[in-house]
Amino acid sequence: MKLLKEMANRDRVFEFLVPQQSPVDVRHGPILYLEDVSVSFDGFQAINKLNLTIDDGELRCIIGPNGAGKTTMMDIITGKTRPDAGSVWFGSRHNLLEKSEPEIASLGIGRKFQKPTVFEALTVFQNLELARATNKSLLPTLLEQMNGDIRAQIEEVLELIGLKELHRQEAGILSHGQKQWLEIGMLLMQRPRLLLVDEPVAGMTEQEMERTAELLTGLAGKQSVVVVEHDMGFVRSIARQVTVLHQGSVLAEGSMDEVSNNPKVIEVYLGEEA
């Protein structure tokens, strides 16, 4: 028993399983690579021959009207939905289509849902604790004890997302914005190589938005970030590279200014803005 506890607590055991150790090979090329991915539900073509590459450390924004297939794309990357055709690679080594959600997650892909999903019955603190990057197989999870440096990690993130004084509260009572933050916090606890962030600023106040923007830009470089967002203002404030999805495939790609001047994009978006 004692021994097991030791092993569970020390960070360096089970090398191959601890996410940030996972050898994502980015020496030759991108961290995420989608090629000719297609999927359809009952005849409705949600994703159609989608090609997308994200470089290591890049911050990419993905915009597009409703039904463009943004969320479906995320589902495919995280293993929730299996595409009918195409291939998805994480680095040049991991074929994501062969992996289950937990495996993908432990490879270092973290996701924040469009609708914030936190564990409402658990406290803010516990939410973060569960998210924390560590060996998540059965026995270690059973035996893990709270200790100094774990607490430290969590406090750190609590600071960052500004929920310190609420950390004893059940996540269920948090406001929408706070839930957004909590979920971002959980992402941070996972220490992923690639973050998929779905509409992070929905229901946030101006200054919350700004802080989010800071946070995401701050992350970029160390980690790769993919942001799906409707709020053009927000996108403009963070975006370097923007990809426009339309009817399940890439419509345009480039800097914010390039795409916003792109006639096709304007045409697609006219409906939205008017």
Binding site: S100, E101, P102, L122, L130, S137, L138, L142, E144, Q190
Partner: protein, 369 residues
């Protein structure tokens, strides 16, 4: 050490304290008080309490999977009954040649079915240690096989409930068959002694009652430790947002499977304690109705609290004993009504009420401060 951790926790201490107190009290009232005294607790009553305690353990097992894992099992009666049958086989073998046919080896029902030897699956049933092992293994293995298939292919929620029900129903039909070699519809009864102690003496009954109490305590502590651990929190997480938990990197199906198996084993133990106290095990224990009733105990006591399950089990079963005694017709109405009222008006059960009380008090105290 994680297993002992709950012992430093207030609620667990209270629970264990109350349980211990009750056990001592009953023992004293039974032994020390003269039989004609109003406070005297008869062997009959002790026996009843023993039965209730084994039910309580069963309820705790169900609460573990339903309360914390969100899996509504309508088949836990099956694990309970299997544990009971394993124990029954042992007790059957203890009768030896005192059966009506006086056969040294075979139980009576085999003699009259003209069998000349024990079937292979009865081997070892005469050893108590082996039995004690099997009491947990048999339900455990079944739960593993079933759970492995179910959770791997993500059969959850309603579907799982209905499948568990089908499981126990199929087992009931199977055990009703005489060819199975478990005594068919009559099951096993007329037990004589356990570990050499005569089952028909008051001492043995008292002992069984106490053992049931201890078993309940141990089972409770194990479950408590489990739910207090990080794994317990993962359970709750997967109960409320299964997909999210997967995205965090937890293999939810393994968590579900392991907890399900533990719960099944506890149910098996409960069954094994139940049988020597009521003196009969037969296929009706597999009846879906019984399994659903267990869930009611938990619901009444309060989900995801463990102690609530115990309260519920004791209350409902006492009520059952009482009502079927005084007003048999009313019993099913009462039981049925209970189902409705609890689910509609008391979703958090009695434990929920207590909590509310507590919180209300705290608020009052806060106001002046």
């Amino acid at each position: 050490m994680w297993l002992t951790q709950p012992l430093y926790e207030r609620s667990t201490r209270i629970f264990l304290g109350v349980l211990l107190l009750a056990m001592i009290l009953v023992t004293l009232l039974h032994l020390a008080v003269p039989a004609d005294h109003p406070l005297y607790v008869s062997a009959y009553t002790v026996n009843l309490f023993g039965k209730y305690l084994s039910y309580a353990l069963l309820a705790v097992a169900v609460d573990l999977v339903w309360g914390y894992l969100g899996i509504l099992s309508l088949g836990h009666g099956a694990f309970f009954a299997l544990g009971g049958y394993v124990m029954g086989m042992y007790l059957m073998r203890q009768i030896g040649d005192r059966g009506v046919y006086g056969h040294p080896e075979l139980p009576d029902f085999m003699v009259f079915l003209n069998w000349d030897a024990l079937p292979w699956y009865w081997l070892g049933s005469d050893s108590f240690l082996f039995t004690a092992l099997m009491v947990m293994l048999v339900p455990g293995v079944l739960a593993f096989a079933f759970g492995y298939l179910a959770f791997r292919s993500r059969v959850t929620g309603v579907y799982l409930s209905i499948m568990t029900q089908a499981l126990t129903f199929a087992l009931m039909l199977a055990f009703y068959r005489n060819e199975m070699g478990f005594g068919g519809s009559d099951g096993m009864t007329n037990f004589r002694d356990i570990l050499g102690f005569d089952l028909r003496t008051d001492e043995t009954r008292l002992a069984l009652f106490l053992i049931s109490g201890v078993a309940l305590a141990v089972g409770y502590v194990i479950c408590r430790a489990l739910v207090n651990s990080k794994l317990g929190r993962v359970c709750i997480a997967s109960r409320d947002a299964e997909a999210r938990t997967r995205f965090l990197g937890y293999r939810v199906e393994r968590v579900q499977l392991s907890v399900f198996v533990v719960s099944a084993m506890l149910a098996g133990v409960a069954g094994a304690l139940y049988v020597p106290q009521v003196g009969i095990i037969n296929p009706s224990e597999f009846a879906p109705l019984f399994s659903i009733e267990i869930v009611l105990w938990v619901a009444l006591g309060g989900r995801a609290t463990l102690y609530g399950a115990v309260i519920g089990a004791l209350l409902v079963n006492y009520a059952k004993t009482y009502f079927t005694g005084v007003m048999p017709d009313a019993w099913l109405f009462a039981l049925g009504g209970l189902f409705v009222l609890v689910t509609v008006f008391l979703p958090k059960g009695i434990a929920g009420l207590l909590k509310q009380r507590k919180q209300a008090k705290e608020k009052e105290e806060e106001v002046p401060a």
